[in-house]
């Protein structure tokens, strides 16, 4: 039996649209190509002042050209849509631009409004502290120049809901629209919220966007002081810095990017004849009941088991794991221990990779991007590598798909996300036979 078939088709939630803007591709096609090629998008910071903080490297989209991106896709989007998008984003910081660009791809692909009223479509945005750089800059204007010269719409844009609402306006989403925050697990927790909206029949289609935190010097410095990010060994070879599971890993590599998914029920998607990328078989959320950045095996194991229970499958059905795997010394070790405990002997035969090895840590956008990476791999019968595997850590001995992609067909996958504040969320994804 297909793993999702125990549910009524009206309760089975599928993905019918996907979109990305990342440091290695601004479409699902280019993103997948780069992942399979093992291409890193990590560079020296391009435009950020370097003299007052330790961080030198990351996934930098500060030069993202929304106009060029939309024009490049000009044959796909109508001129009116491009015009409205550029007008809405005229003076916007980076996060709303990235979210809008990713959301347009996903929504355009799924096209729910061809059969569904705007009032039956909604939006859950994953993330928080999004326009952080904009807030810092305006704080400087306020204190160092003239309070009245802060950006005119600061009162709106200082709130994360503005990133949500700009895209909701662009796509005319008039049903349930709200933000969900869960640090680096935001995207998975947001999926859970959107699934609940659909199963409660409060909407027919939901857009879920994983939004980036605009990386600015103060937050980068804060993470450096916590010893959480890579600041030492790879400043002159940034593409080697994100190296989950490798013995020389020394911290996560912060990165910008956005992902978007369109969710609807299987019955609705089939009625519309929509292309289905996969099914959300199960999802979970647990807390370590700890504010520390220190991850916890117990909470992670619990999250993996609850996601399997939600999907009503045993661990033996899991064929691939997209790990949280941020490239921190402790985090990767704890996750490997948790996978071993949750999957038992099964863990020895399940391939595990890290999308972050190439795109860095997308923070509140990370899990959305990794769910998309998982679905793209499933759809193309391929597993992308974990790059920068040069010196194996003897304690970490799973199959990490080191350095080279491989062909593989899998039908059920697990995607892990474990955030600061002990927020754990796991998602089980499955193939849908058309």
């Amino acid at each position: 039996m297909n793993p999702g078939e125990w549910r009524d088709a009206g309760d089975r939630i599928v993905i019918t649209g996907m979109g990305v803007v990342t440091v290695i591709g601004d479409s699902t096609g280019t993103f997948l190509d780069s992942l399979v090629a093992g291409r890193s998008g990590i560079t020296r910071w391009k435009g950020r002042q370097e003299d007052r903080h330790y961080s030198r490297i990351g996934g930098d989209l500060s030069d993202f050209d929304l106009h060029g991106h939309l024009e490049h896709r000009g044959e796909v989007y109508s001129g009116d849509l491009v015009k409205r998008c550029l007008s809405l984003m005229r003076a916007a910081p980076l996060p709303p631009k990235l979210v809008a660009a990713a959301a347009l791809q996903a929504w355009h692909e799924a096209d729910p409004h061809s059969t569904t009223a705007p009032e039956r479509t909604g939006h859950v945005l994953a993330g928080h502290n999004l326009n952080a750089g904009y807030i810092v800059e305006n704080s400087l204007t306020f204190y160092q120049d003239e309070p009245d010269y802060i950006e005119p719409l600061f009162g709106l844009l200082c709130l994360d809901t503005d990133v949500l609402s700009a895209t909701s306006e662009l796509l005319d989403l008039r049903g349930p629209c709200f933000t969900v925050g869960g640090a680096c697990a935001s995207g998975s927790v947001a999926l859970m919220a959107a699934i609940d909206v659909l199963r409660a029949d409060r909407a027919d289609a939901m857009l879920v966007t994983g939004a980036p935190i605009e990386l600015e010097p103060v937050a980068l410095h804060g993470w450096a002081l916590l010893d959480a990010i890579s600041i030492r060994s790879f400043n002159d070879s940034p593409e080697r810095a994100s190296r989950p599971f490798d013995a020389r890993r020394e911290g996560f590599v912060p990165s910008e990017g956005a992902g978007a998914l369109v969710l609807e029920t299987l019955s609705g998607a089939r009625r519309r004849g929509a292309r289905i990328h996969g099914e959300l078989l199960g999802v979970s959320a647990t807390s370590d009941a700890s504010r520390l950045t220190r991850p916890d095996v117990r909470g992670q194991v619990s999250a993996m088991r609850l996601a399997l229970q939600d999907a009503r499958i045993t661990k033996d059905r899991i064929e691939y794991i997209n790990a949280h795997a941020t490239s921190t010394a402790l985090g990767d070790a704890v996750e490997v221990a948790a996978i071993k405990e949750a999957l038992g002997d099964r863990s020895r035969s399940v391939p595990v990779n890290s999308t972050k090895s190439m795109i860095g840590h997308g923070l509140s956008a990370a899990s959305t991007l990794e769910i998309i990476a998982t679905l793209l791999q499933m759809g193309h019968d391929v597993l992308h590598p974990t790059i920068n595997q040069e010196e194996p850590d003897p304690d970490l001995d799973l199959d990490f798909i080191p350095n080279r992609a491989r062909s593989a067909r899998f039908d059920v996958a697990l995607s892990n996300s474990f955030g600061f504040g002990g927020i754990n969320s796991c998602v089980v994804l499955g193939r849908i036979e058309e």
């Binding site: 007008s87 005229r90 003076a91 009245d148 010269y149 005119p152 719409l153 709106l156």
Partner: protein, 83 residues
């Protein structure tokens, strides 16, 4: 700064911020509402113009302006007050 220079800055910002407005359509006799600006666009035009001209007019006074002439009057007075 002359009134003409102030008007030129305000007109440029209106054209940039309010869609579909041409320079010819902007005169002292009309209001930004007449030109189709929404409340956020009005805030943006006024704030950006003040910053560009390095002027400061208290919000309580700004809200009294009902058309561009009255807005320019306020800006002109503020410019004259400048040290």
């Amino acid at each position: 700064v002359t009134r003409e220079q102030i008007f030129a800055v305000v007109r440029k910002n209106i054209v940039n911020i309010v869609e579909g407005v041409s320079e010819d359509a902007v005169s002292e006799e009309i209001s930004m509402r007449d030109l189709g600006a929404d409340s956020l666009q009005i805030v943006e035009v006024v704030s950006r113009s003040m910053k560009e001209l390095r002027l400061k007019v208290p919000r309580t006074e700004l809200s009294r302006a009902t058309n561009l002439r009255e807005l320019l009057d306020l800006f002109e007075k503020a410019a004259a007050r400048r040290p």
